[in-house]
Structure formats: C-alpha cells, structure tokens
C-alpha cells in the first residue's frame, strides 16, 4: 500500500480487513488488512475500496456512510475505487454485497477515526473523552461550551490505527444522511460529459487495436491473408499469434477498416444447437443434477396429494447489452503492465493478466474507469487482447468493441430449462415440490442461486444441473436468480389457477417467511389487489422473490392487444433491511424492473450453430422510454435490520409477475420467454 505516501500530509490512517460481517461467514472472508481510510491535515477524508462504480451509485453510498460516522460533510470525502495499486484486495463488485460487507467496514473504519479524534480533543481540552461529542467536523463538549475543529486536532499528527474487533458505530436515530435520499456526488460529471469511461482514456503514444473475429463460436482459423491490411495507410502492424489476429493503427477507424480487408478462411464447429431447439437440448446435454435439498418422502407425498401439477419452462439466452461496449487500454513499461478497464473485478482481471503473461501479480496494475453498465458481463478478454497487441508492438493500445462484437463476443446470460412437479392437498397447501433446473454453462453453481423454494413444503427436492453451452455464457443481474424465480413463480400461478384460488391467497397460504410475507402484503395493499378491476381487459399478476439477502414482491398490470404486451404498472414491496440511500435503492429497483421487463417480453439471442444472428439493436429489442411502466416501491425492511442488496433482487420476480399478468389477460399460460414473439 502506498496510498499514504502519495499524500504527504496524512494525519490519520485506518487499517483493517476490507470486509466485515457481524457473524463469521465462510463465504465472505474479511480479507487481508489494508488502508481503508485516511484523513489529511485539512480534514479531507479518503476511503479506499476495490469495488467499482458501474451505475449503482456506490460512491454515494460509501460517502454518506462515512460522513455520518465521522460527522463531516460529504464534500470533504473522496472515494478511491477499483485501482489495484491503491485499494484493498476485492473479489469483484457482485452479489449486491458492497453495502452489506464493505460499506459496514468503512463505517467501522470511520468510527475508529472518530474515536481517535475525540481522544485527541480530550487531551487538548483536558477533559474526559466521555464529555465530548462530534458534530460538523468538530469535537465539542456535550454542553456545547467548548470545541475544536478536526483540522486543528489533525495538524502535525501521524497516527496509524487498526480497526478494533469491537467498534461502536452510530445508531440509526443518529444518522443525518443515511436513510435519506441524496443527489449523486458524481452527478455533475455525468451530465456534462466529463466522466471518463475506458473509451475516453487516452495515454501518450496510444494506438488503436481491432481484432479479427471468427464467424461463429468455436471456429478455427485455417488460412489468413493480411497483406492488404498491412498496406492500409495508418496501419502500424498486423499481429498474428495462432488464431489471434489483430490490427494496430494510428486511428480507430483505420484499424476497423484494415480488419475488414483481412481475408480469412475458418473451419466452423458443426454444433446443431440453435435458439429454437435449445430448450430440449439443454436437458439432453446436461450433467447429472446436483441435489441442493432433498427432504421428506416425495413419492408418497405425490401419491397422497389431492392434485399434482407438472410442467416444463424455458428462458432463452439474453444479451447484457449494456450501453458501453467492452474496451480496454493496455500499456507496458519495463515489463510492468498497466490496464484501464471496465471490469467489475479489477483484482480478478489483474490475476488473469498476470497468469496470461507469466507475471507476478504486483507487476500488473488494473485501474477500473467509470463503467458504462455491466449487469454481469465485461470480462478480462478485451484487456487480454489489448495487452497482447500492446506487447507485440511495444506501445500502448486501446481496443474498443463495436456493438456487433459486443453482441456476438461478450458473454450472454445462459439459457435454462426447468422441470417442476408439485403436489397440493385439499386445503391448497403444497405437500410435494420436485424442481430440476438445467442451466447452460460449465458452472452449475451459477444456476443454484434462487433455485430453492421459499414456500413451506416438507417433501422437497431441489436439483440443478449444468449443461453444455453453445454460446459463451457469463453473468447477469442476479444470475440464476432471475431465471429460477421465473419458473417457480409461474408454476405457483399454474397451481393457483388450477385450483381456482386467488394467487395472493394461495401464496400467503403457503408462506411462513415473515419478511417475504411483509413485502407481498405491502405490495398487494399499495396495488389495490383486492379491488382490482377484473372487467378492465387488463391482466394482473404477481411474483415474490429473494436474492442477496433481500426480499421482494412485485405486482404487474399489463395490457395485451394486437400481439403486443405493454406493462402499465408495477408495484413493489422491497425489504433490504436498513435503506442507506432510498433514492439510490429506488433507482436500482426501477432499473431492475425495466430490465426484467425486456427479458420477459422481447429479448432473446437468436443463434444458429454458434453464429449469433441478431447482433444489433435493430434486431434485438430492448425496453425504450415509451415502454417504461409506472413503478411504485414500498420499503418494508426494518431500520434495525442490517442492509442487504438492492442492485439485483429487484429483477428476480419481474419476468414471472409479467408472465402471470399476461396469463391473466389472455387465459394462456406462459411457459417460455420471451412472451411477445409467442403471443
């Protein structure tokens, strides 16, 4: 750590593990101690985190937490994110975990510094520290008679503090900022074009790279002729290393043109998987399912059940299609590699670059720029490409994907097929639940998220299998969670409709989970479920869900006509415990719903034998402003409940709520997505 060296007048340095959980959690190791927070002699606070900003407003959340703990204004706080040379090791900005584990530790670090300031003041004022409090960047006596500015206390100090095991953080009632909505501290740079994304990063001497792409996944280069590309004015070099072929040029448009004039022959894979036959192939090509839960006696429960329901569901491949296509800048200096990237996991990217080039990790520095959306994609691949080209020509190189490359060569959300069999008794109670999911992708763990049911049932089997993927599958907003919830919650309505029971009543009759019930009851009340107009021609549907420690229910109102479906309104019950920034959380939930609406209604990656067929926005329909529904969010979490994720849980019930509403409108069950092409 050399963060403190770069700022000579640091008065307080707080060191500790970057993460903290109230109880030991093997899934969330606290990490090696590192500098978490510094305060300089002018009382400017700098906090360090390996998290990145990709639109979720994490800088704001951290700044508000620190401002509250330290009793300083947000303007005096700097947040340094995602630079592997400056910040503590981090596993990546995923799983909506930033506020839960890193935010609380930054609060604890800030509280540690605050206590040190109180102690300094106690010495200075010759009083007991218990007689002092902090407010507005000052330590003052409890009666307000005397006080001293932080800056006065900090002058000439050089303290290094460890975050102790037990730190008293502020109680909710003492928060000034947390729990209240706030403007984003980075807002002005976002509306003036000043914010720098990777594509905007220019380093001296930088050149532009473009990669030759195969026509399909798995294609092998047989023959290539780069002579014409080399002759293009402005081309510096054509780099070839096996199947990897890239052009480096003085300008981006030159590199793009030069790649187009490369002639190549490819041997394509002969995989027969296409978007129309993949639902059945996913099961055929799957490994043996892993049981996550296997309890009770399913066979006898089905035997004695009053009614048995059985169906198969499918969700297709989805493109993340974030607005900023992948890009990376790579620079080599004396065997040290620096990369500017748009990756959510700068440390993982650093490690993968180190491995690729056989370097120790400390020879690689990865700096995350502002990130123009991610939703789970943006892999280190583009940085590998930039670094290879930069090394080959010994100059800095930027590689920027065009939109077609982004659609075809970035990762996509894996498709999945689900088989659900359920048994219900005469009282409408679920007595048997047999759930098997086949998720495309090599990593079955990814499909496990959200697979388990949150409803009460004694005889239950939850099994998940990974299945061979013809496309390059990757992460997405609540990967696995959103797709598993679609299948389960659509099946729940299938049962309710089959039994002739109101879907709200059926769910509540099978749901003991207090926090989930809280979200559902709140959403139903805010929506006016009991008084909805069934003669309106509209459809009404609900779904509930859990993800990243949070709970949510959504109720959708849709209009279906002329083979189009429009979502008019979505009402949300949301429990993420203490809400640090209600406006920020609401923004995330609204975005989750709009995104989930795209996956429900229109989005699907069309492909045939490894070729992506709809690699552009003209052929891949995403939600636009005219599609945006009215969204109402009711927060139901308690202020005394630790904060949990807000960035992802909002998407998990959305597709099912819309599908159930479409079923309500049309009378036809929705068993696969997207809905509109199948209307």
């Amino acid at each position: 750590m050399n963060a403190s060296e770069s700022q000579p007048d640091i008065a307080i340095t707080v060191i500790g593990p970057p993460r903290w959980t109230p109880e030991p959690d093997p899934r969330v190791p606290h990490g090696d101690p590192a500098t978490l927070l510094t305060i300089d002699a002018d009382a400017i606070v700098t906090a360090f985190s390996g998290k990145v900003e990709y639109g979720q407003g994490i800088r704001n959340g951290f700044a508000m937490e620190i401002a509250d703990e330290l009793d300083v204004v947000v303007d005096s706080i700097r947040i340094v994110l995602g630079d592997t040379a400056l910040v503590p090791q981090d596993r990546g900005t995923t799983g909506s975990a930033s506020t839960r584990t890193v935010g609380i530790q930054l609060r604890r670090a800030a509280a540690t510094a605050r206590q040190a300031l109180v102690n300094l003041a106690a010495t200075r004022l010759e009083v007991d520290s218990g007689a002092l409090k902090t407010e507005d960047g000052r330590v003052v006596s409890n009666d307000g008679a005397t006080g001293v500015d932080y800056a006065d206390l900090l002058s000439g100090q050089s303290l290094t503090l460890d975050v102790p095991d037990v730190v008293e953080v502020k109680a909710v009632k003492d928060f000034r900022l947390m729990g209240r909505s706030a403007r984003r501290i980075d807002a002005v740079s976002r509306v003036t074009g000043a914010a720098k994304y990777v594509r905007d990063v220019v380093v001296p001497g930088m050149l532009y790279g473009k990669i030759l792409r195969p026509p399909s996944y798995g294609a092998k280069l047989v023959q290539v002729d780069t002579a014409r590309a080399k002759r293009v004015d402005g081309v510096i070099s054509v780099v070839q290393d096996g199947d990897f072929v890239g052009v480096v040029a003085e300008r981006e448009d030159v590199a793009e043109y030069a790649v187009e004039v490369i002639r190549a022959r490819w041997e394509e894979s002969r995989d027969t998987a296409s978007d129309w036959n993949i639902p059945a192939l996913l099961k055929e090509r799957a490994e043996v399912p892993t049981a996550l839960r296997d309890e009770g006696d399913l066979e006898s429960a089905f035997g004695s059940a009053n009614r048995v329901f059985e169906n198969t569901y499918y969700v297709p491949y989805i493109s993340n299609a974030q607005m900023e296509p992948s890009a990376s800048v790579a620079r080599w200096d004396d065997g040290n590699l620096t990369v500017w990237c748009a990756n959510r996991g700068p440390f993982a990217e650093r490690d993968s670059l180190a491995e690729m080039f056989g370097l120790p990790a400390d020879k690689v520095r990865v700096i995350a720029a502002e990130i123009g959306g991610s939703f789970g994609t943006k892999t280190p691949t583009v940085s590998h490409e930039a670094a290879r080209l930069a090394r080959a020509i010994d100059a800095p190189v930027r590689v920027s994907y065009d939109r077609a490359e982004e659609f075809a060569w970035s990762t996509v959300r894996p498709a999945a097929t689900f088989e659900i069999k359920s048994g219900v008794d005469a009282n409408g109670k679920i007595v048997a639940w047999d759930y098997t999911a086949f998720h495309a992708g090599e990593n079955a763990f990814r499909g496990q998220r959200g697979a388990d049911t949150m409803y009460d049932v004694d005889n239950v089997r939850i099994a998940v299998a990974a299945s061979e993927s013809p496309l390059q599958s990757g992460s997405y907003r609540s990967l696995g969670g959103a797709t598993n919830h679609f299948a389960r919650e659509v099946h729940m309505d299938e049962i309710a409709v089959g039994l002739g029971i109101d879907p709200l009543e059926f769910r509540l009759n099978n749901l003991s989970h207090e926090r989930l019930r809280g979200t559902l009851v709140a959403a139903a009340e805010a929506f006016g479920w009991e008084t909805r107009d069934n003669s309106s021609g509209k459809g009404y549907g609900m779904a509930i869900g859990y993800d990243a420690g949070s709970f949510t229910a959504q109720i959708a109102e849709v209009t279906v006509e002329n083979q189009e479906a429009r979502v008019d309104r979505v009402v949300v019950g949301f429990d993420c415990g203490l809400v640090v920034n209600p406006d920020g959380a609401r923004n995330q939930i609204e975005g989750s719903i709009v995104m989930g609406m795209g996956t429900a209604l229109w989005e699907t990656v069309e492909f045939d034998g490894g070729r992506v067929l709809n690699a552009g926005f003209a052929r891949y329909r995403v939600p636009r402003i005219g599609d945006a529904p009215e969204i109402e969010v009711v927060f139901t979490g308690g202020d005394d409940v630790p904060s949990s994720g807000a960035g992802e849980p909002g998407i998990v019930p959305t597709a099912a709520a819309i599908a159930n509403a479409v079923r309500d409108a049309t009378g036809t069950a929705v068993e696969q997505l997207p809905i509109v092409p199948n209307l």
Binding site: G55, V191, R199, R251, D253, M323, G591, V622, A628
Partner: protein, 158 residues
C-alpha cells in the same frame, strides 16, 4: 475542413468518409459524446446540428462542415448547467450515465422547439434512445420539470 463546434472554429484535416462522432472524439477530444451502436439505433452519440438532434455516428463529417455543432460539453453556460442538465442531476435520471449525453441533447432540442411538451411528446422525442440501466421514469420526470424552467429553450443555439 472547417468545423464549428460549441461556438469554436476548428480546421481539421480528415478523410471525408469519417463520421462526425469519430472526428469529435478523436480529433477534437470531445469524449462526452458516446459511441453506443454505430448504427443510429441507440442515441448515445446524439449532438445538435443547427439545433436538430442528430446521430453523429451515422453523420458523415462533411455534412456537418460549416454548420453549428453543439456537443454535451457546450450545453452548460460556464458553470451554470443547462436546465435539462440541472433536472437530470435533481432527479438522478441516470445510473451509469453512458447514455446521458445523448438523452440530454435530444431533450434540449425538444424543449427548444416545444417549451411545454406533454408526456407523449417527450417519449416520442426520446424513443430513439436506449438507457439499459432503465432510468426512463426519472428521465421523463426530469425533462418535464426542465420544461418549466427559464432558459430551457436555449438548447438549440443554432
């Protein structure tokens, strides 16, 4: 070739077939205007040409020569944000903000020709833009609130 951008004149020597977006970003280093799709389908590259919202990624630079070009960098009056920018801040009408420059430029052009648009007119004017973070509800609210502000009709400039 002569380009007038944000009230400043530039002489650039560029190939005629290059896009305005490429020249703005690479030659003039005005990187606030974004590449999103290169096909005119997402709106991230929107600038104003003689006050009209225009997709710079499909506009040949030659066709913009001699005309009034305004990018996001030229919209504010010094430190005073344009009312649309102010409203986007006030409503946090963005998340990652990669699409924001485009939305703001189209909104400014809309308010310039129609100072009091209704919801449908706003939706129509912004229908060619994509925000994958899904901040649409906020964008709509921001443009509506900016519509009532003095100076909101200054976006067109031309």
């Amino acid at each position: 070739m002569h380009l007038k951008v944000n009230d400043e004149s530039h002489e650039v020597t560029v190939d005629a077939e290059r896009t305005l977006l490429s020249v703005l970003r690479h030659e003039l280093e005005l990187t606030g205007t974004k590449y999103g799709c290169g096909e005119g389908n997402c709106g991230a590259c929107t600038v104003l040409i003689d006050g009209e919202a225009t997709r710079s990624c499909i506009t040949p630079v030659t066709s913009a020569s001699g005309r009034d070009i305004m990018t996001i960098e030229g919209l504010a009056d010094g430190d005073n944000l344009h009312p649309v920018q102010e409203a986007f801040v006030e409503h946090t009408a963005f998340q990652c903000a990669y699409c924001t420059s485009g939305f703001i430029m189209s909104s400014a052009a809309l308010l310039d020709r129609n100072p009091a648009p209704d919801d449908d007119q706003i939706r129509s004017a912004l229908s060619g833009h994509i925000c994958r973070c899904g901040a649409y509800v906020r964008i709509l609210a921001a443009v509506k609130s900016a519509a009532g502000e003095p100076g909101s009709g200054d976006g067109g400039a031309g």
